[in-house]
């Protein structure tokens, strides 16, 4: 982590980053890594039988991408809270853009902290796939 407390003013942003296109292999790889084997994310027939046009991404995959995007900015050891709400589903072929903005900068319990507003956007629709929040300590 190279960003400093002085740089982390309210409104400061991490460099936006694009990921993708996401593939079925990405979904399967994440399912293997996480132990969530819900077939709706890899079994085309199962997904269609549930009324979906195809398999779709595991929400926790885009959440995981977003979490690691944040820790690349503010440090793997420094995260204290990470929360996401899932909005649009993410489909094979989608490109995702991650963004993080400092919304609050404060000291608490003798530690410097920042609260972040987080967003994952689907380039294909322009809609939010995830809206989230995080808290980091800043050593």
């Amino acid at each position: 982590m190279t960003v400093t407390w002085d740089e982390l003013q309210e409104g400061a942003k991490a460099a936006r980053r694009e990921y993708g296109p996401l593939t079925r292999t990405d979904f399967v790889r994440y399912q293997g890594a996480s132990g969530d084997f819900n077939p709706i994310h890899h079994d085309e027939e199962f997904a269609k039988s549930a009324g979906f046009p195809s398999v779709f991404s595991v929400g926790m995959l885009q959440a995981g991408i977003l979490g690691c995007y944040c820790t690349e900015w503010l440090g793997a050891e420094n995260v204290r809270r990470f929360a996401v709400q899932f909005r649009e589903q993410v489909w094979p072929g989608d490109h995702l853009v991650c963004e993080a903005t400092v919304r609050r900068r404060y000291e608490e319990d003798g530690e410097r902290r920042v609260d972040l507003e987080l967003l994952v956007t689907r380039e294909e629709s322009g809609g939010a796939a995830i809206k989230g929040e995080a808290t980091f300590v800043v050593p």
């Binding site: 990921y19 990405d26 790889r29 994440y30 293997g32 890594a33 996480s34 132990g35 969530d36 819900n38 077939p39 709706i40 199962f46 039988s49 549930a50 009324g51 979906f52 779709f56 991404s57 595991v58 929400g59 926790m60 995959l61 885009q62 959440a63 995981g64 991408i65 979490g67 690691c68 995007y69 944040c70 820790t71 690349e72 440090g75 793997a76 050891e77 420094n78 995260v79 204290r80 809270r81 990470f82 929360a83 996401v84 709400q85 899932f86 909005r87 649009e88 589903q89 993410v90 796939a129 995080a134």
Partner: protein
């Protein structure tokens, strides 16, 4: 719809070792090559890594599994992790326990009546200190939805 009497349903505590190889695999799947995860010999875990309790909860007996929900109607609405210090590090072993915290219904725009189920998992270190908490919001839809949740 899911039975309100399931609120408070709690599973038996289980143990989860935090492992270096699993952290590396998880970090790669999340498209990061951050050396703090993939090169450090005792890495901390990524922010959402504790979702891996899936591997360690005992034999199909997690409270969510006991609710007997049709996977074709199940969406993940949200997820939160709180850490009372740095995230758990490889080499540590955590004891965790999950309870059903809330069940409520909302009318969805596209999915019919939706049932929301919030579960909370607490993670403690071998000294019994609470080190992390996870809150998961699951949504059971009346019909296949076209948005809102993943």
């Amino acid at each position: 719809m899911v039975d309100q009497s399931k609120v408070g349903l709690t599973d038996e505590p289980s143990t989860m070792p935090i492992e270096r190889g699993k952290i590396r695999e998880f970090a790669r799947a999340c498209k990061t090559s951050n050396p703090a995860y993939v090169e450090d010999r005792t890495p901390v875990s990524p922010p959402t890594f504790l979702t891996n309790v899936n591997f360690w909860s005992g034999g199909g007996q997690s409270p969510m599994q006991r609710l007997d929900i049709d996977l074709r109607r199940l969406l993940h609405g949200g997820q939160e992790y709180v850490f009372h210090g740095p995230p758990p590090r490889a080499g540590t072993e955590l004891t965790f326990q999950t309870r059903v915290d809330k069940i409520y219904e909302k009318e969805g725009r596209r999915g019919g009546t939706m049932t929301f189920i919030e579960t909370v998992t607490e993670f403690k270190d071998p000294a019994g200190t609470l080190v992390a908490e996870a809150r998961s919001t699951a949504i059971v839809t009346g019909q296949a939805p076209t948005g809102g949740g993943a």
